[in-house]
């Protein structure tokens, strides 16, 4: 198993973290979710972040995406240091420079699909680029679903709406937390293909947290975390390679 460091050159990085730590609780119940993680992501890369439960992968994503502040360390996103911004500024960063896709509960139940997609723009008070919207809706095959409420959409359709929303602001990075966790294999395959297409053709940087080696197979880089530390970095691995690397962790 080759462990090649594939960190892109610093000037190419759209997002990076240096020496990140995150600690919860005090005394006996203290948890070190992240124990010193440094990582960089190149423009247009599609990275899978993997690890067993409790490895800190979700925490890493939260810190990178501005959903939480690290206990120590620095996060740079799109050329801006975001790790110690105020809540107001961090919120603005999330609104304008980051896109999110979660495993479930992605959409607001009272808004239609179209309203959900343009929500970040509305919150920012920006005008909707109709061409961009049409392009996204087309490529995600949501044309006949725009006026439906989330309760009237299937799981796969909901995730596609979520992706459209993530991309409408043309963010620096799209963060996906287990995006295919609740989908069947066909929908998963379609969704992951779309993500790869977006990163390759539209140069959209995507960071995806997952526990599924098959999903990791769609990415062009996979990093492994264990106990809050980065322990492996693989280039375009196959699912088998990923599986083997994970088994090594368990041992």
């Amino acid at each position: 198993m080759t462990t090649t460091t594939t960190a892109p050159a610093p000037t190419d990085q759209i997002a990076s973290a240096t020496g990140l730590t995150k600690t919860y609780g005090t005394g006996e119940a203290q948890v070190h979710a992240l124990a010193g993680v440094s990582i960089g992501f190149g423009r247009g890369s599609f990275t899978a972040v993997m690890g067993p439960s409790g490895s800190g992968k979700s925490t890493l994503m939260h810190c990178l995406a501005g959903l939480d502040r690290p206990t120590s360390g620095e996060v740079v996103l799109g050329g801006q240091v975001i790790s110690q911004l105020s809540d107001r500024e961090l919120t603005a960063v999330r609104r304008d420079r980051v896109g999110f896709v979660f495993q479930a509960f992605n959409l607001l139940p009272t808004l239609t699909a179209e309203q959900n997609i343009v929500l970040p723009l509305e919150l920012a008070g920006r005008r909707v680029d109709r061409t961009l919207l049409a392009g996204l809706v087309d490529s995600l095959r949501l044309g006949d679903r725009l006026t439906h409420l989330p309760s009237q959409l299937s799981g796969g359709q909901q995730q596609r709406v979520a992706i459209a929303r993530a991309l409408i602001t043309q963010p620096a990075v799209v963060f996906a937390d287990e995006p295919t966790g609740a989908l069947d294999s066909t929908s998963s395959h379609q969704l992951l293909n779309y993500l790869r297409h977006t990163s390759q053709v539209m140069e959209q940087t995507i960071v995806m947290v997952t526990h599924d080696p098959n999903a990791a197979g769609y990415a062009d880089r996979t990093v492994l975390l264990s106990d809050g530390r980065l322990v492996d970095d693989l280039v375009a691995p196959t699912p088998d390679m990923v599986l083997a690397a994970m088994k090594k962790l368990g041992a």
């Binding site: 959903l67 939480d68 919120t91 999330r94 609104r95 979660f102 139940p109 970040p120 929303r165």
Partner: protein, 811 residues
């Protein structure tokens, strides 16, 4: 089971806080009213019988009996430590523009004294008096000040002040025995004797001994314990206080009903929120009945905690109020039976309110614990049954309302109240039929202004059942408040109109000698009166006593200047005599007017110019019938109502005694005062219910915020600023509150109009004025909306404070 429920309440106090507060407020109202009424009642009884406050035994001699020789007989009985006769004398005392009725008692010997001096000394001569602190305060007098007694030319000096407060109706003062003797009071004609028993003596034995000894001298004598005598006089008062107490409990009942709506709502939301917990219990093997029982016990515990707090708070408030009204001086009364009842009602109300929500909320499948189901859209179609039932109520109510308004019926008010009740039930229970539509209408007004307002409107409209319950509580509370406001404002205006229409004389000054015969108003006074504040025209009338038919009246002579002062242009012909419209019915068509100088036979004409005790003839006839006293009555015109009080004070000061004044302004002022006090009290009482309803608004919002944790986290993750999230919740709260308040105001205005019109019909008023005090009502609405906005502050802070990642991690 109890322990589980208790630990649940202890560990999640925030969840239950608003329920506890709602119950506590209602029960505090009930308990506070009970203590207040009991304490005030006792204070009243003791203040009215202040001379007996320290006595143990009271000897009463009825008017037909004679108290001769009783004094020494009482004093000679062993076991009597002190005894003294009780004299009371009332006088109206004036100081500046203020007059008060003071009840003067004689100063008892030491053992029977109930008050102590705070300044000066006790009175000794007939011209010295001592006032109670409360009386002196009301009159603005200090030691050494002179006092004017109405109807008497002597002046009296205040030589001391005592510590006792004034009662609500009666103020006390002390006069020396010399003064009483000078007025003819002696020990032999005293009607009451106060007796203090020697320490260690048995009161019961003393009563028996005295009875035996005294009935031998005067058989009609009654001997009783002081407590019994006080209780009897309090019982006479009790009727008035019973009405007062019932009114208070009626208002407390309203607060309780509003509280129950709030509690039912809270339980619905809490149970929806704890679906997972319930599912877990069922998955683990609890039966539906066991789960229900557990929650009913929780409701019971909540009710008990809230009610206990309420009783304590109620007692505290009552202590505060009675301390301020000085009734506390006479002792605090805690009516345990009523307090226990209040406690019981609080617990019962909580359990009853929680019952249906618990039944509905515990029908949860065990799978809930494993796969939480996302909140479904509750926009259900209106229930047919509800629509029909409420429609019937509204129709019945409308029918009764028409009846009350159209027919002249002495029971019109009762019919109107019945109509109001039916309509209210129809509207309140029909809430789910129209509140959602109103919410959408309200939402349309502002949802186009931005993303955040649109989100707020969506949220408020998507759970119509919950929003309806919240709005309903507000409708009830605000509706009642506005009804009373409108009714009072209308009655006030109608009465004032009636007064000025029926009694065109604004102010009348009437001068008499001590014997009661008409006298001329002193020149100094009349010129001052003509120039007094607010007076724009005046006329001096001559008059004399005469017999009109069989009625002894003051006969006045017509003066053309009356036209300017009263606005009435019809005069008196030489063959007419004007009498009050009330007297016209009891006099024949022609009547002989007889006076000291002669007589005349005249036709009787009813007129609003003269009062019940007066009649008016032409100037020529006046000279023929009596020896007229010039300028014995003066009529003043005060055109601007806002100067009414200033004019009254000025005139009062000029004439020196309120006895000499009358007129529509005086009556109107009295009405205004009573109306204003009534209005302030009822508004204050109902404000409590509105407060509970608004707590319900904040509560509904808070709990729904907890339910929407994930959505809030999602919004924050997507880039909604924390402050914008708080604004969103504020808009939601205000939207629901405004719907409830507006319906309440509209309904309240209608019910107020209905009540006033019905009263007019039953009382035979020719025209009823309908009035809405717009500034006050608008002010109330503004305050309620503001309070609703405030209610969103805490839930808003809670929602915005948590970091978005925390909530998302809970999948």
């Amino acid at each position: 089971m109890f322990r589980q429920a208790w630990s649940e309440v202890r560990h999640h106090p925030g969840r239950f806080l608003s329920t506890i507060i709602a119950i506590a407020i209602s029960v505090a109202f009930l308990a506070g009213s009970a203590v207040l009424v009991a304490t005030e009642g006792q204070a009243q009884g003791k203040a009215m019988n202040v001379s007996l406050a320290e006595a143990d035994v009271v000897v009463t001699i009825p008017p037909e009996g004679s108290g001769k020789g009783l004094g020494p007989a009482i004093a000679s009985v062993a076991g009597v430590a002190t005894s003294a006769p009780v004299y009371t004398m009332s006088d109206v005392v004036t100081s500046g523009a203020i007059s008060e009725a003071i009840s003067f008692v004689n100063l008892p010997p030491d053992g029977l004294r109930w008050a102590s001096l705070t300044a000066g000394r006790w009175p000794s001569t007939a011209n010295e008096v001592v006032l109670s602190g409360g009386a002196a305060g009301a009159l603005g007098l200090k030691v050494g000040d002179p006092l004017a007694l109405a109807g008497r030319s002597e002046s009296v000096q205040v030589v001391g002040l005592t510590n006792e407060p004034s009662g609500l109706f009666v103020k006390t003062g002390y006069a020396s025995d010399a003064r009483f003797v000078a007025s003819g009071y002696t020990a032999d004609n005293a009607q009451q004797w106060a007796i203090k028993a020697a320490p260690g003596a048995s009161v019961a034995d003393l009563i028996d001994t005295l009875k035996a000894k005294l009935t031998a001298i005067e058989p009609t004598v009654k001997v009783a314990s002081a407590a019994e005598v006080r209780a009897t006089s309090i019982a006479h008062l009790a009727q008035d206080f019973d009405v007062f107490a019932n009114v208070l409990w009626a208002f407390a009942g309203v607060a309780l009903i509003v509280g129950m709506i709030t509690i039912a709502n809270t339980f619905t939301i809490t149970l929806a929120q704890r679906r997972r917990q319930i599912g877990l219990l069922r998955a683990v093997g609890a039966s539906g009945g066991q789960v229900r029982r557990r929650f009913l016990i929780e409701a019971f515990v909540l009710g008990a905690v809230g009610s206990l707090l309420g009783v304590a708070a109620g007692i505290g408030i009552a202590v505060g109020v009675t301390a301020w009204s000085t009734a506390l001086f006479w002792g605090l009364v805690l009516p345990w039976a009523q307090l226990a009842l209040a406690l019981g009602l609080g617990v019962l109300a909580t359990v009853v309110a929680a019952f249906v929500p618990i039944l509905r909320g515990t029908r949860v499948a065990p799978l809930e614990a494993l796969h939480p189901v996302p909140e479904s859209d509750e926009r259900r179609r209106a229930s047919m049954v509800r629509a029909i039932a409420c429609g019937l109520f509204v129709l019945a109510g409308a029918g009764l309302a028409t009846l009350a308004v159209v027919r002249v019926d002495p029971n019109a008010l009762l019919i109107a109240i019945g109509a109001g009740a039916l309509l209210s039930i129809g509207v309140l229970f029909g809430g789910p039929l129209f509140v959602p539509a109103l919410l959408r209408l309200a939402g349309r007004a502002f949802r186009w202004t931005g993303a955040v307002p649109r989100l707020a409107a969506d949220n408020a409209e998507r759970n119509p059942r919950r929003a309806t319950a919240t709005a309903t509580a507000l409708m009830l509370a605000v509706g009642l408040m506005v009804t009373l406001q409108v009714a009072t404002a209308s009655v006030r205006l109608t009465v004032l109109d009636e007064l000025s229409a029926h009694y065109p004389v604004d102010l009348q000054v009437h001068w008499t000698q001590d014997s009661g015969e008409p006298a001329q108003i002193p020149a100094e006074a009349s010129s001052q009166l003509a120039r007094a504040t607010g007076v724009d025209a005046s006329v001096l009338l001559s008059g004399g006593e005469a017999e009109v038919g069989d009625q002894g009246l003051l006969l006045l002579g017509y003066d053309p200047a009356i036209r300017a002062v009263t606005g009435i242009s019809t005069g008196v012909r030489d063959d007419q005599v004007l009498v009050s419209e009330y007297l016209v019915k009891s006099l024949p068509k022609t009547v002989t007017v007889k006076g000291a100088a002669g007589s005349a036979t005249l036709t009787v004409v009813g007129s609003r110019l003269v009062s019940y005790e007066q009649a008016m003839v032409s100037a020529a006839n006046l000279a023929k019938v009596v020896t007229p006293v010039p300028g014995t009555v003066m009529w003043l015109s005060v055109p601007d109502r806002s100067h009414a009080i200033d004019a009254t004070v000025a005139v009062n000061r000029i004439v020196g005694s309120g006895d000499r004044l009358s007129g529509s302004i005086i009556e109107a002022a009295a009405y205004e005062q009573v109306m204003n006090i009534l209005l302030a009290i009822t508004t204050g009482l109902l404000a409590v219910a509105v407060l509970i309803a608004l707590i319900g608004v904040g509560n509904t919002l808070g709990l729904s915020v907890m339910e929407r944790r994930r959505e809030s986290a999602l919004l924050r993750a997507l880039g909604l600023q924390a402050r914008s999230l708080r604004v969103m919740l504020l808009i939601e709260a205000v939207q629901v509150a405004v719907v409830g308040i507006v319906v309440g105001v509209v309904a309240g205005t209608f019910f107020g109009w209905l009540a006033v019109t019905a009263v007019g019909r039953s009382g035979g008023f020719d025209s009823i004025r309908f009035a809405v005090d717009v500034p006050v009502t608008a002010g109330m609405v503004a305050i309620a909306v503001l309070a609703a906005a405030l209610a969103s502050v805490l839930p808003g802070r809670r929602a915005a404070r948590a970091a978005p990642s925390e909530m998302l991690a809970d999948i």
